[in-house]
Symmetry: C2
Subunit: 428 residues, 2 copies
């Protein structure tokens, strides 16, 4: 967001943000009342409008790309910003996938009767007004708006200034979809002003915004977590672990280790530390190390692992808490599943950890005692993803303990209320 400036005072920004949150809040009651049909209709209409207006979207994207070129934007960022017909179609299809998911609202989460005859049900409701702060990725505009509509939550989007024209065009098309379905257009709003003071105003809009979801790199998430006065669903980093137990199937161990680390090294579910049971380190570590090295991974090992993998670099204490997001892996030998659990609960960022073992008791102990949002047996940490979980899409992954944890999809963007049905009961 290199081009952003602060010209507004925080007082002006708060006053302007109040107008945005007022419009969002007045959209909440109609969204609470809305039928699933209407919300599905809005999503499908928005998808169709995005397909029908592909040329306009590409033209707006060209404006952003021209600005990006003029500012010598890094190639990786240009790659995320640039749209083409296939990417536009994927955004539309994503909205249709969200439309097809079951309604997350009005679900009876629990229901019971009291001895006095009162019938109590806990029923899912919208969460409230959501603020999404993200970098210059146009698809986040569409994904976040889609999940918000699905779950009945008005959303205020604050995208990176580098994708301003593209995201504004996409947001308008989604608003047209809402309008076509008879839902309030202000259920989706994209800030039309990229002054950074407005980000501060979003983060402190207590009473106006119910939860903030940052989508972006570590520096964005750190700023949001530091400054926010409203609750945040986020993960700062994914320091994911794979533990190879004495009871591991060696073939699975190799395949899972290579996939978890190397499939894509830059995502939050990528493996960062491999732990190997001392009982099988001599036999398995050379094979796994070879496979990883052959796949292009550098290894940083503790003293015991290095005795087995002499070509590995020496790991330092910092390696156990480093999210490389690169083809680098730290490796340690541990004392069985207990040692693995201790290491993980000490160093992990509580995102995703996996064990490879054929011993179901050991697997269950790992599942029970590892204190992370996602714990896995005999599979790759790269499955830590809302789409892979069957949630259709995710607005992010949360490592906090409150409300949402793990992939945050439409169902995780709900709250609940109690419906109590009586026949005249009064309290003694």
């Amino acid at each position: 967001m290199a081009n952003e400036t602060i010209t507004m005072t925080s007082v002006d920004a708060a006053a302007m943000m109040a107008e945005w949150t007022d419009r969002a809040r007045s959209s909440l009651a109609p969204m609470i009342k809305s039928s699933h049909d209407a919300r599905q209709n809005a999503l499908r209409k928005a998808a169709q409008l995005i397909r029908d207006n592909a040329a306009t979207i590409l033209a707006e994207n060209s404006r952003d790309l021209a600005n990006a070129e003029a500012r010598n934007m890094a190639e990786a960022m240009v790659g995320r910003l640039m749209l083409n017909p296939a990417r536009i179609d994927a955004m539309a299809a994503g909205l249709e996938d969200i439309a097809d998911l079951p309604d997350p609202l009005g679900r009876e989460l629990d229901r019971w009767q009291r001895p006095n005859g009162l019938d109590i049900a806990r029923v899912s409701t919208p969460l409230g007004v959501i603020g999404v702060i993200y970098e210059s990725r146009p698809n986040v505009t569409v994904d976040a708006a889609g999940l918000a509509i699905k779950s009945g939550n008005p959303v205020i989007l604050r995208g990176g200034s580098d994708s301003f024209y593209t995201s504004s065009c996409l947001a308008r098309l989604v608003q047209d979809g809402l309008k076509g379905a008879g839902l309030p257009v202000h259920a989706v709003q994209l800030l039309n002003n990229t002054d950074r003071a407005l980000v501060g105003a979003m983060l402190t809009a207590v009473g106006g915004i119910d939860v903030i979801i940052p989508r972006g790199g570590r520096s964005l998430v750190e700023r949001v977590q530091h400054e926010a006065r409203v609750p945040v669903f986020a993960h700062l980093e994914g320091i994911c672990h794979l533990y190879i137990d004495a009871g591991a199937d060696p073939e699975k161990a190799v395949a899972i280790a290579v996939n978890a680390k190397m499939r894509r090294v830059e995502i939050c579910g990528a493996l960062e530390t491999l732990l190997v049971d001392r009982a099988v380190a001599d036999t398995l570590l050379p094979v796994i190390g070879d496979a990883l090295t052959t796949a292009g991974c550098s290894l940083r090992a503790d003293a015991e692992a290095r005795a087995i993998l002499p070509d590995a670099a020496m790991a330092t204490e910092a390696d156990w808490t480093t999210e490389y997001l690169a083809p680098i892996l730290s490796v340690a030998v541990v004392d069985g599943v207990g040692g693995a659990i201790d290491h993980i609960n000490r160093y992990s960022s509580s995102h995703t950890e996996s064990i490879v073992t054929e011993n179901t008791d050991t697997a269950q102990r790992f599942l029970d005692e590892v204190d992370s949002a996602i714990v896995m047996v005999n599979t790759s940490t790269q499955f830590a993803d809302g789409g892979e979980f069957g949630m259709g899409a995710e607005i992010g992954i949360a490592t906090g303990r409150l409300h949402a944890r793990g992939p945050v999809g439409a169902a995780q963007l709900t709250s609940f209320k109690y419906m109590v049905r009586g026949n005249g009961q009064t309290r003694a």
Copy 2:
């Protein structure tokens, strides 16, 4: 908390609080691992120790009462501080009730399979370290500790200084119960220092405390909500509404109105505003008004209601947002259930609202569209209580939309994690 002082700097307080939160956090792993048997055992042992040490508890309570007398504490506060054998037995029985509840941990909240064979379960876990800030009510020490033990959450208790000796004695007995059950004694800690700077340190202990629960009057809750940097489960006030629909059974309407307002006027579930459907105002309002007046309630009515209840005072705009906690009730005539919903969603504190009607469509519309934590049909708002909901006990009532809403019992003090079971799946 008249006797409290601030002698510590905020830096000193934060350093001291870090020692408390470190002990709490190191108790988390053993609590996560603990069996329900062990937690039940701790609760039952604590109950027995409280019964066996009633004389000691009364002696410590006398020290607090002597201090209270020396400071001319208000009678109502002395009443809440004073223990007797029956109250001590009730605290012990409360712990046994909590022990008897089902285990809130390790519950499979959801489970599904993916096309690739991955099995995904969402399983309840402890929430983390809880901070409870409360006034001089010794029973809160025991209730809060009991619910925290049940749900596997280490708790840091900060009670009012006026109950310091009593609460310290009770906390020690609960810790002895934990010890007897082989659980970490620091899973329950009561601050042994009443410096108010430590309250500030609790409220800002990000990373040390996961959630703060204030138990007390409006000024305490306001301070907590204003200063807290960690999440808060709380309600500021309960501006509860009862709406009498044209389809109401008149007898139920009268009985519920009188019970909701007058059973106990000082609790958060007490009725503060009565709304009556214009279609039945002429016939029902005189009867309900009479019953309330006879029960000792003063009425403050809008112009239309006052035309029917000429003895009522004139309500002002402020009456619609006032939590009287007294035998006073505001009354308005509204245009059917739609008018009632609009009034409630505008003025309510989102705590508890009820409708009286025999029309199930109208009832369902009220349940669906009123945006409060608890919505009721044909029953009294005074049932808004964890015990009455069958939760065994409550640590408070939350009106926020995130995580916990309504009565907060042991099950609401949990988080969850995903357990993913595979057989070697790697991601394409």
